[in-house]
Point group: D2
Chain length 132, copies 4
């Protein structure tokens, strides 16, 4: 699979828990931020879409945790988007920069609502699919 978008980030110490590694829930923050930055790189802001009544809603997430990230680790989040019926499926992977070891593999299924009603597609997300 090819990933047309990627973004580099760095672990912040407050994201780590008593096990000394990034808390599992924080990976969802990383994944969400990467998706929103991908949108933004296409001149689309999640907040502005929300104000227009357009909301992306995550229906399902699957995450496989491989190598835990630790304080100070640099990492890269990559994204590929596919369309499956009404769903936009985000395939996302996180690699630790130091050795490019796979840290996390995720699949995020999202649907889009306009004024609370499910729609089958919106151009803002179709653009992401076309890149993939």
């Amino acid at each position: 699979m090819e990933y047309p978008y990627e973004i580099e980030m760095k672990v912040r110490d407050y994201e780590c828990d008593i096990q000394g590694i990034v808390n599992n829930s924080v990976y969802q923050n990383y994944l969400e931020h990467a998706r929103h930055e991908y949108l933004r790189s296409n001149e689309v802001s999640f907040a502005e879409m929300h104000n227009r009544g357009v909301d992306a809603v995550v229906a399902r997430i699957e995450m496989a945790f491989k190598t835990p990230l630790r304080p100070g680790d640099d990492f890269v989040v990559k994204i590929n988007v596919q369309k499956e019926g009404v769903k936009y499926v985000f395939h996302q992977v996180i690699y630790r920069k130091a050795d490019m070891k796979l840290s996390l593999k995720a699949r995020v299924d999202a649907v889009v609502t306009v004024n609370g009603k499910l729609v089958s597609a919106v151009p803002e997300f179709d653009k992401l699919v076309m890149n993939s």
Copy 2:
């Protein structure tokens, strides 16, 4: 499926994002807290286990998001634990209290390491399985 453990919680406003609903990553916090409280109800503390070199490590999470929780919502998190090979599989559901609507359905696969080495089972978790 029967759930031998359940815990009640309440949405806190800071857990909600610009969409006015609980941010997706926060459900993982809810699920983790419920699992740790389940352990604690069996006189086992996650922090104390960690200090003894025993760590539960989440290998995989699957979450289906149904009804979003909102500011002030009371909810209940339920847990059933099964053993599949070396894995402890936590089946967890979240229901909104007001109408007992399903908010989230999750499956969390964990393995246990002792001093960093994978072990096939520990009594602390086997007890949870026997309850289920």
Copy 3:
């Protein structure tokens, strides 16, 4: 000082960092949640106020960190509200339940805006002052 409102909470493991204690930023979550619950106990919802264009805005916070909270600690957050000019001043303390040791002492100065404009007072907050 007397505290007309108090709420009990419990440390969640994910709120603790690599030092094994509650991360400093999380105390602000505790303080905010306690304030919002105080409002709610007076039939006022922060989210509903926001939808009506009424926003409480924190202008200043002072926190003295005394005894750190740890995984599993029960604690109580107490609140007293005073009016000083346009400001509502929340005096908040957190005590660890096990020994009622002072964990945190805070002063939170808030102002209220209606449709973005500073107002000198709103009945929702005046009620909290009258209780104190």
Copy 4:
């Protein structure tokens, strides 16, 4: 006041709450991350210090909230460190990049413990003071 260290960051959407602005508690995350990166720029890791038994403990925080940060805002966090008795006093400011408007002004008083005992100074932090 001159600030010998600064770091650029960007608001992430999940850090914003139902008011559509960065939640107040998140500024503490920003401030902490900036302090830890300042240490790291001097080849000192907070996690590694902790493993050696050396812990920086925040005793007091004062924050004045000026201009709220919003989704997508770039900002810069600046740091100046002074020594006052046993305390290391971190003066920190946050500016919004777009117009260099002051977003937050903070004073963070920290002390250092070695194996749980208060010490008057450690070279790792004295170096930060000498830069200021």
